[in-house]
């Protein structure tokens, strides 16, 4: 289980230094938060982590087991790190029973489930000690009730990321394509995919189309948005989450392109309908698939597991209307009925200080959530070791929100993959599938 050299060596150094400084409570070392002396009581925090081979998971373990407890010796602190799929059902049950944890980090597409149902405490700028303008506007939308443009915040973004296009240069060369010229539009991507499949034995594009799976729309929606489609009005600067756009032409066009790649060109792996992102990653690692869209953390894994795979990265392709990508990331939420809000805030402050925000953000394969952390020296240092980090920064402005309503999970995990599968399996035409999805969403929003 090799971990990149930087993380281990420098992490240990930093931890030693940080713990010492934290104890003195001095802000002198740039990037660390000052310890508030009077934090006592009990605090339970839940977090989630990526699969073990992602470097920087060490940073997380270190933060929760050494650094933060070291900062506040009088605090009875306990934290649990879950797998990504375990955390959501557990948190749902726990908070509906008004039980711990006091503080939880959730993926951005889960936030509205808790924010919209009034289970989170509000957080003000004074309490947090960090000006809200530091955060991305899209990220802030995700922690306001029902994705409103203004109003109190019910959570704080911890890190943000976007996906980008990853491709295998060797396969490109084998197929006669220029390895330094990745596809720039979605149509080009489909064409390249066909060429690759025809000329080599590999599949061109690795598609995720599994049902009941959040990965699937993460790859589909950028295409839909690029063609001018939308779920609601999330592309507007002030989305209302009322106008349903899912039946429109952009979505239909995207579905048609998916259909072309999967059914007509057959340039996509045949198991797409039961593949989620981990399956596609496996295929990419073994050179069976030439292109895939994935999180920034994946290239780090590739480097570890298959160092001789020559990777190329590119911004997500554009469409006729725009270039877009899902704004991903995570948010911290404090339980509304918590008894130790000061401690929870202290944890957030420590987590969000530029030094840790950069390390933990990049460690999770994304970026820190604050402008300060993204501009910090720490970030610059980390970025040097991380493949394609600059691409992520470049893609951030194109981020578009997931549906920020409480029915969001159902729409994201159920409706959209269902729509895609209807088309891929040949049961419906793109137009029919999109119309069916639109009426489903309408029904959902009516309750």
């Amino acid at each position: 289980m090799a971990v990149s050299g930087y993380t281990r060596r420098q992490a240990l150094q930093a931890a030693a230094g940080a713990a010492g400084l934290a104890a003195t409570g001095v802000w002198s070392k740039p990037g660390l938060a000052a310890a508030t002396a009077d934090i006592t009581g009990k605090l339970v925090a839940w977090d989630w982590s990526d699969a073990p081979s992602v470097p920087g998971v060490e940073a997380q373990a270190e933060f929760y087991t050494k650094y933060f407890p070291g900062m506040y010796k009088d605090l009875k602190f306990s934290s649990t790190i879950f797998g990504y799929t375990d955390l959501l059902p557990k948190l749902t049950v726990a908070w509906r029973a008004s039980n711990q944890p006091d503080l939880a980090r959730t993926a951005i597409q889960w936030s509205q489930q808790f924010v919209g149902t009034d289970q989170c405490a509000t957080i003000t700028e004074e309490e947090l000690g960090i000006p809200f303008k530091e955060f991305l506007p899209g990220a802030l939308l995700s922690v306001r009730k029902n994705g409103a443009g203004e109003g109190p915040l019910y959570g704080i973004p911890t890190n943000n990321e976007v996906m980008f296009l990853l491709y295998n240069k060797a396969i490109f060369t084998k197929a006669g394509l220029d390895p330094n010229k990745p596809p720039t539009t979605w149509d080009e991507l489909a064409a390249f995919s066909k060429t690759i499949h025809d000329k080599t034995g590999s599949y061109g594009y690795g598609m995720c189309a599994q049902q009941n799976q959040g990965n699937t729309p993460y790859r589909f929606m950028p295409m839909a948005w690029a063609y001018g489609g939308a779920i609601f009005d999330e592309l507007l600067p002030h989305p209302t989450w009322r106008n349903i756009g899912i039946g429109n032409d952009g979505v239909v066009a995207a579905l048609a392109l998916y259909n072309k790649m999967f059914n007509i060109d057959k340039s996509v792996q045949p198991s797409a309908m039961s593949d989620n992102q981990t399956n596609v990653q496996t295929l990419f690692l073994d050179g069976k698939v030439a292109m895939c869209i994935d999180h920034p953390s994946f290239p780090q894994q590739v480097q570890q597991l298959k160092p001789d795979l020559d990777m190329g990265g590119a911004l997500l392709p554009t469409g006729p209307v725009r270039r877009a990508v899902v704004l991903g990331g995570s948010n911290f939420h404090i339980r509304k009925t918590t008894t130790n809000k000061p401690a929870a805030l202290a944890l957030m402050k420590a987590y969000l200080a530029p030094y840790w925000n950069a390390r933990l953000g990049t460690g999770a394969g994304s970026e820190g959530s604050t402008e300060i952390s993204r501009a910090s020296d720490e970030q610059k240092l980390l970025s040097k070791d991380l493949p394609f980090n600059d691409l992520v920064f470049d893609m951030l402005p194109f981020g578009v929100n997931v549906p920020l309503v409480t029915q969001g999970a159902q729409i994201w995990n159920n409706t959209i993959p269902g729509m895609i599968q209807q088309v891929l399996s040949g049961r419906s035409t793109p137009k029919e599938a999109a119309a069916a999805a639109a009426s489903q969403v309408q029904q959902m929003m009516a309750t």
Partner: protein, 304 residues
Amino acid sequence: MTEQVGAASARAVWRERLAGIPYVLPAVLVIVAVMSYPFAYSIYLSFQGTPSYTTETHFTGLANYAVVLHDSVFLHSLITTVTWTIGCTIVDIVFGMGAAIIVNGLRWFRGPIRAALMLPYIVGYVIASYAWLWLYQAEYGLLNQVLTSWNIISEPVSLLSSLTWALPAVMLVNIWKTMPFAMIMFLAGLQAIPEQTVMAAELDGASPMRIFFEIKLPYLRRVLVITSTLLTFQNFNTFTIPYIMTSGGPLNETEIVSNYIYNLAFTNLNFGGAAAASVIVMIGLMAFAVVYVGSLSRRQPGVV
């Protein structure tokens, strides 16, 4: 005299009637203590509306039931579940019986072979799911590697993506896991058949098939009833296999009722609907149990 005896025996009967209670009490207490609140809560919740935008509930009467019964996904999952249950149970019984007969007839290595055949049941659902997931894997799984290297198919096939093959594929995993249970029950049944009867028939010159169907099978009736009932209920309520292997896809083809209820509760946040669906399932199973077990025990008294 008779009155005294009458009174004494009446008291004796009364005491007899009460005597059984302490034996049964711990079990009943445990179940009542643990399950009565959840049970009551579920029934209560099934009559409550649980909109996704709040944690409060309000009384909506039978609305949840109506919504669930009109949901094509629910109905589809019911059909899938019934197919799953009947298919798996029948195959379990048939092949379990076959295995039992063969094992019963073995002279050597009976112990180890029996143990080996029991392995799938012993290791549990979680491991079964992952083992077969790995096996069915489109590009690296054993199935595809064998099929392509023997040139049966030219390109790897992904069973779990196919609308027609996903359900049978997942059912196969369940069968793999539960068949040993049937086997072991039948094996025990076979070994309990009195030797003399069988030997007498053999001496009379009856063929093995006739011996099986006319001599052995009637003895096995009781085991058949018990096993098939247990298997039916266990198969109906499976959750883990589709959850881990396909998440219910593709296009709900492998979504059985327990997955549907889980999604309804945790993705759609419709806890009231999930409760209603559970109650519907429970009523259905109860009806089935009463009819099925009742009819069978009528034919042979004392079975249950």
